[in-house]
């Protein structure tokens, strides 16, 4: 028996996380790509932390922050009266942080690959930094942007450790597919676990195949002058 509610929740979480990461991640990635400040490596290390941290460490700090006594939790409770931990919104924050490097790194590699002289010409033609970003950098980085989005989506879909820590596994709110599979095993429903696991495997594979397919459609790069 496939847990469709969990699948729907997982997809919703992954999609929302990706959308947030596009808005939040692009400015960070652009700064990393172009900054020459001496503290840039610190920022890069911070962004890359979720790659090496065990989910328990990130989950630990997040749960502390989002609990009723933590700074984020208290803020949330004051604003909405509800609890941030063990809610979809809490999961969203956790997923955004945990998938941050999967979006920001491909973004910034793509941004850095855009020839600086293109930006400079745009500026001398009167376009502001922001307009230059939208009209020159983004169109020329589309492949990297799409890669980052797809990786963030796929990574969030497969998340287990942080969801476990922060989500509490409430059906319909925080029980994602990965948790649901784990749960089926504990309930000794191996058939149910297998079906749901297979579905997640197929979805993940399809997403990755799409990524590699999109890479083939690279934009014509600026050719060297003949």
């Amino acid at each position: 028996m496939i847990d469709w509610q969990a699948i729907g929740l997982s997809i919703r979480l992954a999609a929302t996380t990706t959308a947030v990461l596009v808005v939040v991640g692009m400015p960070i990635a652009y700064w990393i790509a172009r900054s020459r400040r001496p503290w840039r490596p610190l920022v890069e290390a911070l962004v890359a932390l979720p790659l090496v941290l065990p989910p328990t460490v990130l989950g630990f700090y997040l749960l502390l922050a989002m609990g009723p006594n933590g700074p984020l939790g208290a803020l949330w409770a004051g604003a909405t009266g509800g609890s941030l931990s063990f809610s979809f919104e809490g999961l969203l924050i956790a997923s955004v942080l945990y998938s941050l490097p999967f979006a920001v790194q491909p973004f910034s590699v793509a941004f850095a690959a855009v020839d600086r002289s293109l930006l400079e010409v745009s500026w001398t033609l009167g376009r502001s930094g922001f307009a230059t970003f939208l009209r020159v950098v983004v169109p020329l980085s589309m492949t990297g942007i799409l890669t980052g989005m797809i990786l963030a989506f796929a990574h969030t879909l497969g998340e287990f450790g942080v969801v476990l820590m922060v989500g509490g596994n409430i059906p319909g709110e925080t029980r994602t597919v990965s948790i649901a599979i784990y749960d089926r095993v504990q309930a000794l429903d191996y058939a149910g676990a297998a079906q749901t696991a297979l579905l997640l495997l197929l979805i993940s594979f399809a997403v990755l195949a799409l990524t590699y397919g999109l890479r083939g459609l690279t934009l014509v790069p600026w050719p060297a002058r003949r």
Partner: protein
Amino acid sequence: MGTFLTVLVACTPPTAVGPSPAGGNAVPSRLRVAAASDLRLAMDDLAAGWTAAHPEIGISVTYGSSGTLFSQIIEGAPYDIFFSADAELPRRLEDAGRAREGATRLYAIGRICLWVRSESSLDVISRGLSALTEGSVEAVAIANPEHAPYGRAAVAALQAAGLYDLVKTRLVLGENVSQAAQFVDSGGADAGIIALSLALSPPLSESGRHVVVPSDSYPPLEQGVLILSSTADPEIAGATEFVDFVLGPRGRAVLDRYGFLPPP
């Protein structure tokens, strides 16, 4: 330090299986139940029985070890009712202000048993816990005594039988008692001291055999239920009715089927 441990424990995985709210679409209200893992099969039956009579209120259940669920509630998990495997954790929640003082009610006395798979050669029926001294027993699964009352009961029973020192290096700890059962069922452990309520029904009742551990060898598992209240929503629709249902004759009948003894 206390916070650290609380949070770590809160992070161990509870799992949820719950009947979806009856009717599928927008239900006016939903009860969120946190239940100790020994209730995995019993609570499904109880919830189904309740929902049949009250389709307008859906019930979703999250299972986990009592200690884990306790920590989560402390950290803000939005459950409405907490069915613990002991009586102490609900009372601590009262002290922490998560419910009215004295609101905890006992709903059952739990029991533990020793369970092995059908193909095991261990003669647990006649030998009881002493079957664990066999050389072929390499791993014995119990729930983690740090945060599961059933795990603590298993340790106490082993100590009473004078077997704890012998067996303790071979113990495999499940996050909760149903995971301990899963370890044995899948072959990861050779035997397990698990909740009787899990052993009495399929699939475990058909895939293995059990022997009840004598109740006088461990402190009684007095299981308490607590309706959680917050200042925002002191009257949770249906909560009192559901708890009354569990404590009433129909709930009693279900719990009996799963080997629970009535509370004193």
